[in-house]
């Protein structure tokens, strides 16, 4: 099977769905990727994901918008409610602040407030995550905020196979979906089929099985957890890894099953720790699998602070493989 990057996988998903369904359109800032160069599609969007789409589908299907998230996210919600299936792109998830009403009070509520008679099949793609020296306003991991809002679905792929299948599923879904892509992962490769396929929402991926402890990790943290697990295996510690893939809906069954299997749980999440996906998962396990726990749950997260610009600080801000390993040793009752 061909190896593809997350960037290629997302590009294929967009093209396959645009070919399959003429209602699928793209809108966002510089998504045709040529502004200022005088050349159309010079680089395929800020992160190169929409490369080649302008050439194949033309400007009626992919629309460059002004730098006004409040306008084009509202336009996407309206287009979705009236028959299109828009994929809007916000360059950095941090900019959600300016279009939150369109999302939280409008798109998320249409189905509910119109008694199921309206659907809002829109996808909002955005990059997230620290590690690129982009400072506090361009580095956040805000999925916990969206997970909090009923009516939104929240997707965070951790590899190229999932990225393609989850984006196709998101486009075919009739509800608003927030689709978050980690900036540092676009070049990560995996085996990705050429054809279309879907990865269902609310179905966690058991990345690895292991009998001693369970790591639940999200997005880029899955990769770090895998590195930690490989290192721990050399010390004879077998760690299971669960990747929820979507935080709304959340696959509680798999999380509880894997927590019960080992009785020792580490949750790894690069977002801030208060009222977060990590604290949510922790509370679910504490409520539903308490009797199976052999040790207190340990969370590995960023601190309750903005992402620092100073490289030396940013490097210790984001959870690391070493911190994950130490947390596993802690739930195992061993000294790091």
């Amino acid at each position: 099977m061909p190896q593809k990057t997350i960037r290629q996988a997302l590009n294929e998903a967009l093209k396959l769905e645009m070919r399959r369904d003429p209602r699928v359109v793209i809108m966002g800032e510089d998504v045709t990727g040529g502004a200022g160069t005088g050349v159309d599609d010079a680089w395929g969007g800020a992160f190169g994901v929409t490369k080649g789409i302008l050439g194949e589908f033309g400007r009626s299907r992919i629309l460059d918008t002004p730098i006004t998230e409040s306008a084009f996210v509202g336009a996407a919600a309206g287009a979705a409610a009236t028959g299109l299936r828009p994929v809007a792109e916000i360059m950095f998830v941090d900019f959600m602040g300016v279009c939150l009403d369109q999302l939280m009070n409008q798109a998320a509520k249409f189905r509910y407030m119109f008694g199921g008679k309206a659907v809002t099949p829109m996808v909002l793609r955005a990059t997230f995550g620290a590690g690129r020296r982009s400072a506090a306003q361009h580095s956040q991991a805000l999925y916990s905020m969206f997970t909090h809002v009923p009516g939104l679905k929240v997707v965070i792929p951790s590899n190229a196979y999932d990225a393609k299948g989850l984006l196709i599923q998101a486009i075919r879904d009739d509800d608003p979906v927030i689709f978050l892509e980690h900036k540092l992962m676009y070049d990560d490769k995996a085996d990705v089929p050429d054809g279309a396929y879907t990865v269902p929402f609310g179905e966690a991926n058991v990345v690895r099985e292991g009998k001693h402890a369970t790591i639940i990790a999200i997005g880029r943290m899955v990769k770090l957890a895998e590195a930690a697990a490989t290192s721990l295996a050399k010390q004879g510690i077998e760690v299971a890894i669960v990747d929820p893939r979507t935080t709304s809906p959340l696959d509680e069954d798999s999380i509880i099953e894997m927590a019960e299997e080992t009785g020792r749980v580490v949750i790894v999440d690069e977002s801030n720790p208060r009222c977060s996906v990590a604290s949510d998962i922790s509370s679910i396990i504490a409520e539903k699998a308490f009797d199976a726990l052999e040790a207190p749950i340990v969370k590995v997260t960023a601190p309750h602070a903005p992402v620092p610009y100073a490289p030396s600080l940013e490097d210790v801000y984001v959870p690391s493989t070493e911190r994950i390993e130490a947390a596993v040793l802690k739930v195992m009752g061993k000294k790091a």
């Binding site: 279309a196 396929y197 269902p200 179905e203």
Partner: protein, 375 residues
């Protein structure tokens, strides 16, 4: 002196295996072992398999302890004559390891499957081995793929080419309308033989693949040198619709794990990789519909459309049957009353996947049947 010392190495089973875990030794250090004896259990991503000794002597070293993960080709044990000095064994291991580390990077590419145009279908085919012997063609069952044969194919490919294929709308083959069912598949396999310029082959078919083999024996007997049917479909009415419909419907990891458990005598042998591979296959656009239409062609209510049993009585193609005594998909009792000239091997403690659950034995039975019928 080195011919008196033999390395036991981590095998490479199938295309995707790069490493394996020693799950347990079946012979103690110092025990006498003979060639063909089961000496070590290896855990792969699919299922645990036993490896046989390739040489006779004394198991002098268990280089890899249970739990150790080693790359394919790495030394995991040493078999040698009893009088070889200890120091010589140590030197052999050290030398093997230093050579292996140097060459490991050059050898990390396994065999690759390719797409063959076979009539209306584009079929994914893995071909192993070389030599003038009549080729063997391996045909998997419903919802499966060529990896069903990962423990058998390389071993069978001595002095001949062995082709393992993915059926239409299965594995890496193109997704197509397969409402024609087993008969359509039989035509596709004949088209594949044509495309590969194979006038005659030994066919090994598992389950649905067995039904395909029987149809070919009925219509294209001239293309078959022999037939090995492993838990074949089509010779009796009983079949587990719980498995067939469950596999076609399963979308979640847990459901799929339970369904796949029905395939094996020991359901705990179902690995994460088997579950993930099956789910990934079923998520492809068009596959659920293809499986449903395939089922419609195979089933009549809750029974399979049998109708192929007579072919075993009339065909001139020499056939043998292998079945697991604990098969929960198609019961082994269907062999009762078959013509006496057909050899039947019922394997105890084996479910619906004998070629994986009792890999060495099934490989041996296939090899012997092939040798008896023109080689």
């Amino acid at each position: 002196m080195t011919e008196r010392i033999h390395a036991v190495t981590m095998p490479r089973w199938g295309m995707v295996m790069t490493e394996g875990q020693v799950s347990g030794w079946l012979a103690n250090e110092g025990a006498e072992v003979h060639s063909g004896q089961e000496v070590v259990e290896i855990e792969t991503t699919k299922i645990t398999n036993v490896m046989e000794a390739a040489a006779s002597g004394v198991l002098r070293r268990q280089v890899a302890q249970p739990g150790t993960v080693a790359p394919c080709g790495a030394i995991i044990g040493v078999i040698a004559a009893p009088d070889v000095p200890e120091a010589e064994i140590d030197a052999f291991v050290a030398e093997f390891q230093s050579r292996f580390e140097v060459s490991a990077e050059a050898h990390d590419t396994g065999p690759k499957a390719r797409i063959v145009e076979a009539g209306a279908h584009r079929l994914n085919v893995l071909s192993l081995g070389e030599g003038g012997g009549t080729p063997i063609v391996l045909v998997h069952g419903f919802g499966g793929d060529m990896s069903s044969w990962m423990f058998n194919q390389a071993e069978l490919a001595q002095g001949r080419i062995v082709h393992a294929l993915d059926l239409p709308a299965h594995g890496g083959s193109s997704i197509a309308d397969v409402s024609g069912g087993p008969r359509q598949f039989a035509s596709a396999v004949v088209a594949l033989l044509d495309a590969l310029n194979i006038p005659k082959a030994h066919l090994v078919g598992h389950s649905l693949g067995g039904a395909i083999g029987l149809i070919m024996a009925g219509r294209h007997a001239d293309r078959l040198a022999s037939l090995t049917l492993i838990a074949p479909g089509g010779i009796g009415p009983e079949i587990s619709v719980e498995f067939l419909r469950g596999f076609a419907a399963a979308e979640k990891r847990k459901e799929m794990k339970e369904i796949l458990g029905l395939l094996l005598a020991d359901p705990d042998q179902v690995s994460r990789d088997m579950v993930v591979t099956s789910l990934k296959y079923k998520r492809l656009d068009g596959v659920p519909e293809a499986l449903q239409s395939l089922l419609a062609s195979m089933l009549d209510g809750d029974k399979q459309k049998a109708g192929l049993r007579e072919i075993l009585t009339t065909t001139k193609v020499p056939a043998q049957i292998i079945w697991g005594a604990e098969d929960r998909i198609i019961p082994a009792s269907q062999v009762r009353g078959l013509p006496a000239h057909i050899p039947v091997h019922i394997l105890s403690n084996v479910g619906h996947m004998p070629m994986m659950e009792a890999a060495a034995e099934v490989t041996k039975l296939i090899g012997e049947h092939v040798a008896r019928n023109g080689g």
